[in-house]
């Protein structure tokens, strides 16, 4: 375990250095990441004037968006396509540590580059978030980051079978946008859609921590939400392990 953490730290360090060299490209990714929450903020503050919680919600969502970005369909799928996965298979540690390290480094860059924007939006928030709510939201934010990585990584692994992993991940990201709380907060969702949003994993990848910070999820709903989120992390982890085993079996059978 200690060795794996050390290896992970090495991948984060290495990827951080690598993405540092491509800062301008990283910046374009940050811009793409922040646009949807900002649009949501603009639309909903205009549609529902006076609802200060909307602003708070989208400010936290903006941070969550930067902290949960996942590009494994670019970073990892391309290794499968190019045959460079061989290099990962030859290393004496679990392969997932490499894409996870890249993911964490990319997220660090996103948060670092997005910080000025987050501060500006934070200053515009008419209400101060409660410290208790922010603390309650923190674990949900970390779980959302884990869940979104597992989800994107799992979809990116379809590169073992198809040349179109990018499209598969694209569908997943559209679902996160629609049902994850970016297009509209869960509490403003049509009533027919709410049960699905509560049950499906997408809300727990993005909007759930922002809802907690905005004080929209409390009491038993909070416990149930955390329960569902944890369950999805577990299920997604199992699914990813199964997809990886199957994919690598295919890869090692046909040589990529």
């Amino acid at each position: 375990m200690r060795y794996n953490l050390q290896v992970l730290a090495q991948y984060v360090r290495q990827s951080f250095l690598e993405w540092n060299a491509g800062r301008s490209f990283t910046f374009t990714l940050v811009v793409q990441a922040v646009v949807p929450p900002l649009i949501g903020l603009a639309v909903w503050t205009r549609a529902l004037p006076g609802q200060d919680l909307i602003t708070l919600y989208y400010a936290v969502l903006l941070f969550a968006r930067l902290l949960t970005v996942s590009y494994e369909h670019h970073t990892f799928s391309s290794r499968i396509y190019s045959g460079n996965l061989i290099d990962d298979l030859l290393r004496p540690h679990p392969v997932i540590l490499a894409p996870l390290g890249v993911n964490l480094a990319v997220r660090l860059w996103h948060v670092a580059m997005g910080l000025p924007l987050i501060l500006v939006v934070g200053m515009l928030i008419p209400v101060r978030p409660e410290l208790g709510s922010l603390l309650l939201a923190s674990p949900a934010l970390l779980l959302a980051a884990a869940l979104q990585f597992l989800f994107t990584y799992g979809l990116a692994l379809t590169a073992f079978w198809t040349e179109k992993a990018f499209g598969v991940v694209g569908i997943g990201q559209t679902l996160i946008f629609l049902l994850g709380g970016e297009a509209f907060p869960a509490w403003l969702a049509p009533s027919a859609l709410k049960p699905a949003m509560n049950l499906l994993p997408f809300r727990y990848m993005l909007g759930f921590p922002a809802e907690i910070a905005a004080g929209q999820v409390t009491g038993s709903a909070l416990l149930v939400g955390y329960g569902v989120q944890l369950a999805w992390v577990g299920l997604m982890g199992l699914a990813v392990a199964a997809i990886w085993r199957s994919g690598v079996r295919r890869y090692t059978a046909v040589g990529g």
Binding site: Y3, Q6, V7, Q10, R13, Q14, S15, L17, E18, W19, N20, A21, G22, N84, I86, D87, L89, L90, R91, P92, H93, R249, T252, A253, V254, G255
Partner: protein
């Protein structure tokens, strides 16, 4: 002790095939057809500790597939492979820490944006090389590969030859006991090729590492490998010394004769004339007749220089690829 062993190793791929046109394309959607490709067919060999073996064959012979099986990247569809007592396909950490695979097409697999030293530090952590060992190995590699000027440079800015030097350091920093070299001199200039060959020979001598090398450049094989394994169409065609292969395939030697005066003898009676110009003649002589022919030539006062050579290796291998070894 055998470090690498392959017993009846086989690898069969199933590749999709279909006829031309829209109808065949639509039919393949509901009823896909496949063809079996036997990349490796029941090959067996054993390689002892410290051996440097050339693994050669024409394109598509199954060389890289075999190397991938032995390094754990591919699972064989038949037979068994063992490397250092491990089954490669299980990819155990202890196994992977003792092997390295260097591909000429991609000598270093670190991100190209980082510096060579950063890449080496990364390897140090991944392969748990203690700091004192790291410094010692790095100093040695720096000297052997003239690595010093490259350490603070980004990998992306290195030439192909420099990348190969950095890649060798990157792969050998943790002192692997088994080295798989897949076309290591691919695309390198003559200086880099010479450095590469000298380095591999030095590394093998210094560490006692077991090395399997594939290359289309016969000079690589000739200079580095006392033993060669030749495979063709997935089957083992020859396993032995290079000179043994030459003897088997080419039952003649080349006798090169320089004469001071116009030799009036009948060249055709001595052997097949390959070339004859400006006082220098090359004869193709059956191996069993070489001694007698040489004696006759030396007895002749007009001979100023004489040499006996094996036929060019490229020719031998080319003949083996085209006609088979005829085991």
């Amino acid at each position: 002790m055998h470090i690498i062993s392959a017993k009846d190793l086989s690898m069969t791929y199933r590749v999709p095939v279909r006829g031309e046109g829209l109808r065949a394309s639509l039919r393949a959607l509901v009823r896909p057809e496949f063809r079996r490709v036997e990349a490796v067919r029941q090959i067996s060999f054993e390689i002892g500790e410290g051996e440097v073996v050339g693994f050669i064959g024409p394109n598509g012979a199954g060389k890289t597939t075999t190397l991938k099986i032995l390094s754990g990247i591919l699972h064989p569809t038949g037979g068994q492979a063992a490397v250092l007592g491990h089954t490669p396909g299980q990819r155990e950490g202890d196994f992977l820490r003792q092997i390295a695979m260097i591909r000429g097409s991609r000598p270093i697999s670190a991100p190209i944006e980082i510096t060579v030293l950063d890449a080496l530090r990364f390897q140090q952590a991944i392969y748990r090389v203690p700091e004192d060992r790291f410094r010692m190995n790095l100093a040695e590699l720096e000297e052997l590969l003239n690595l010093g000027p490259l350490l603070d440079r980004q990998i992306r800015a290195l030439s192909l030859g420099e990348r190969m030097r950095a890649g060798l350091a990157w792969s050998l920093l943790y002192r692997p006991r088994v080295l798989f070299l897949d076309e290591p001199t691919l695309g390198l200039d003559v200086v880099a090729v010479t450095m590469m060959r000298r380095f591999v020979a030095d590394y093998a001598a210094a560490t006692g590492a077991t090395i399997m090398l594939t290359s289309h450049y016969m000079a690589d094989v000739e200079q580095l490998c006392p033993r060669i394994i030749l495979i063709d169409q997935g089957k083992l065609a020859y396993d032995g010394s290079l000179s043994g292969l030459a003897q088997r395939l080419t039952p003649y030697k080349l006798v090169k004769v320089s004469t001071d005066i116009d030799y009036r003898g009948d060249w055709e009676r001595l052997g097949e004339v390959v070339s004859c110009e400006a006082g220098r003649t090359v004869l193709r002589v059956p191996r069993e007749d070489v001694r007698e022919i040489v004696a006759r030539l030396l007895a002749d006062k007009g001979v100023s220089d004489l040499g006996v050579e094996e036929p060019p290796l490229e020719l031998v291998i080319s003949q083996a690829y085209q006609e088979g070894v005829g085991v």
